[in-house]
């Protein structure tokens, strides 16, 4: 890109259109365009593309913000927000590692689905696939030293607002102090193409228990849901980690941790007692729902 070269190259042509060319090069570009109909046509098309993008998408700038995109909703001036996240490294590496672990463990946890929850045709029930997803998520994130949770317990309000938005119903974090577990935090996860929430608890010995929550799929009649409303079922045990799961109203829950069956069932009971589950509104668009409640 020397200044006395008469020709302008491709990069110059783009920079000319985008207004990033210094004045002297700009003059050279204009002289060039005047002499070259082909380049002039290209410059004109490039500019038209930029304009078309604005015509197409600028209206988004003027749409009212849904409540979940307003800063004020998450900022509580009186609550300190300093240093909640020590994860200086981007989430990339942790996620990559977690993803690989998920792959490695997926086969190991396939056992969850083999108990009694397959239909004769071998189709996995919703409950079974749900339990398997919950077990995988537990395996991945309880051993993640850097980013076990996306939001820590010190940002519980933000975490629960976020999960509630994405799951389309109010999500609460039950207190498990009675069994010696404190909330560490939680995260949002994909689960069979839907958002799921994972709340992580920790005991005094450092053992981690996760509560996994997802909206239930609307099931066509006759299909295999595998749920027994409100009944806690024992999913099995793998490597000292047990799993129980149940469904109440529109939500499915799984509780996973290094506990024996009786301890886990008792903890599940504690969870059930605390959760006042509002009925889920089927197919209610989240944005509109939250918009109405906005200030």
């Amino acid at each position: 890109m020397t200044d006395n070269r008469p020709e302008i190259d491709e990069a110059d042509l783009h920079a000319f259109v985008d207004g990033h060319l210094p004045p002297d090069r700009r003059r050279a570009a204009m002289a060039n365009l005047a002499a070259s109909p082909d380049q002039a046509a290209r410059a004109s098309d490039y500019r038209a593309l930029n304009e078309a993008m604005h015509l197409t998408y600028d209206e988004v700038l003027h749409e009212p913000l849904p409540a979940r995109l307003r800063v004020g909703r998450y900022v509580h001036p009186e609550a300190g927000r300093s240093g909640a996240f020590s994860g200086l490294a981007g989430p990339g590496q942790a996620m990559r590692a977690a993803a690989l672990i998920a792959l490695a463990l997926a086969s190991g946890f396939a056992g969850w689905s083999l108990n009694d929850r397959m239909s004769p045709a071998g189709v996995e029930s919703e409950a079974s696939s749900f339990a398997r997803n919950a077990a995988q998520a537990h395996a991945v994130y309880t051993i993640d030293g850097r980013h076990p949770v996306e939001f820590g317990a010190d940002q519980e309000d933000t975490l629960l607002l976020w999960l509630s938005d994405r799951l389309g119903t109010t999500i609460q974090a039950p207190s498990l102090q009675a069994v010696g577990l404190r909330l560490v935090g939680g995260r949002l996860l994909p689960s069979s193409g839907r958002p799921a929430g994972q709340l992580m608890y920790e005991g005094e010995a450092g053992q981690r228990i996760t509560l996994y929550i997802r909206g239930r799929f609307p099931m066509p009649s006759g299909s295999l849901s595998g749920w027994h409303e409100d009944t806690v079922r024992y999913g099995g045990e793998t490597g000292g980690v047990s799993l129980v799961y149940w469904a109440t109203g529109g939500l499915a829950y799984a509780l996973i941790g290094q506990m024996d069956r009786e301890q886990l069932l008792a903890t599940a009971k504690l969870v059930q007692e605390q959760l006042q589950i509002p009925s889920i509104t089927p197919a209610a668009p989240v944005d509109q729902a939250t918009e109405k409640g906005a200030t």
């Binding site: 491709e10 990069a11 783009h14 920079a15 985008d18 207004g19 990033h20 290209r42 098309d45 490039y46 593309l49 930029n50 078309a52 993008m53 604005h54 015509l55 197409t56 998408y57 600028d58 988004v60 700038l61 003027h62 749409e63 913000l65 849904p66 979940r68 995109l69 307003r70 800063v71 998450y74 900022v75 001036p77 927000r81 300093s82 240093g83 909640a84 996240f85 200086l88 981007g90 989430p91 990339g92 996620m95 990559r96 993803a99 998920a102 792959l103 939001f151 940002q155 933000t158 976020w162 938005d165 994405r166 949002l188 994909p190 069979s192 193409g193 668009p285 989240v286 944005d287």
Partner: protein, 184 residues
């Protein structure tokens, strides 16, 4: 500059707030689906708020937040891929309707459609340059690629759209005439 008192925090929050509409516009154009786009912006917002102490006052908040958005997007794609849930959402999403009364509706619909045919890496560059007005160095920083890569993606993307849209321009009028005749 680096005061730890409330005023700096408030400044950061103010600057974060200002970026939301732009992030939303970009995410909408990138993903096509408004709900998924807002999911991405919300996650970006939450992460920016929780890490605002890492933002250096005086530096470009827009670039910082677009970088966060881009990182989250990359991770989301990777997660979906690993979980076997990956499908390009733009492949199976219904068209976002544009008001048919608008004079430019045909061209606008064509542009949104044409953008979707581009590889995402090119679409990102075209949108950051054309919609956000970022210079090429800023785009390179946000996407974490060399400037030369930005330039070649920009060129390939624009040329592809140019071919596509000029093809559409030549074909569409005939279609339109046919349709008009069929309307009683």
């Amino acid at each position: 500059m680096d005061r730890a008192d409330g005023s700096v925090v408030t400044d950061a929050e103010e600057l974060i707030t200002q970026q939301i509409p732009k992030l939303r516009r970009y995410a909408r154009a990138l993903l096509g689906d408004p709900a998924r786009a807002d999911d991405l912006v919300q996650e970006t917002l939450l992460r920016a708020l929780s890490r605002q102490h890492m933002w250096k006052p005086g530096t470009n908040m827009r670039a910082w937040m677009f970088t966060i958005l881009h990182n989250i997007h990359v991770n989301n794609q990777r997660r979906r891929f690993v979980r076997g849930e990956f499908q390009d959402p733009l492949e199976d999403q219904p068209e976002q309707g544009t008001p048919s009364t608008q004079e430019h509706s045909l061209e606008i619909r064509d542009l949104a459609k044409a953008l979707k045919t581009l590889p995402e890496a090119q679409r990102q560059v075209l949108l950051l340059v054309g919609l956000e007005g970022m210079d090429y160095k800023q785009v390179a920083d946000v996407l974490e690629v060399p400037v030369g890569t930005v330039m070649s993606r920009l060129h390939r993307g624009r040329e592809a759209l140019r071919r596509l849209l000029s093809y559409e321009r030549n074909v569409r009028p005939a279609e339109r005439t046919t349709k008009l005749r069929m309307v009683p």
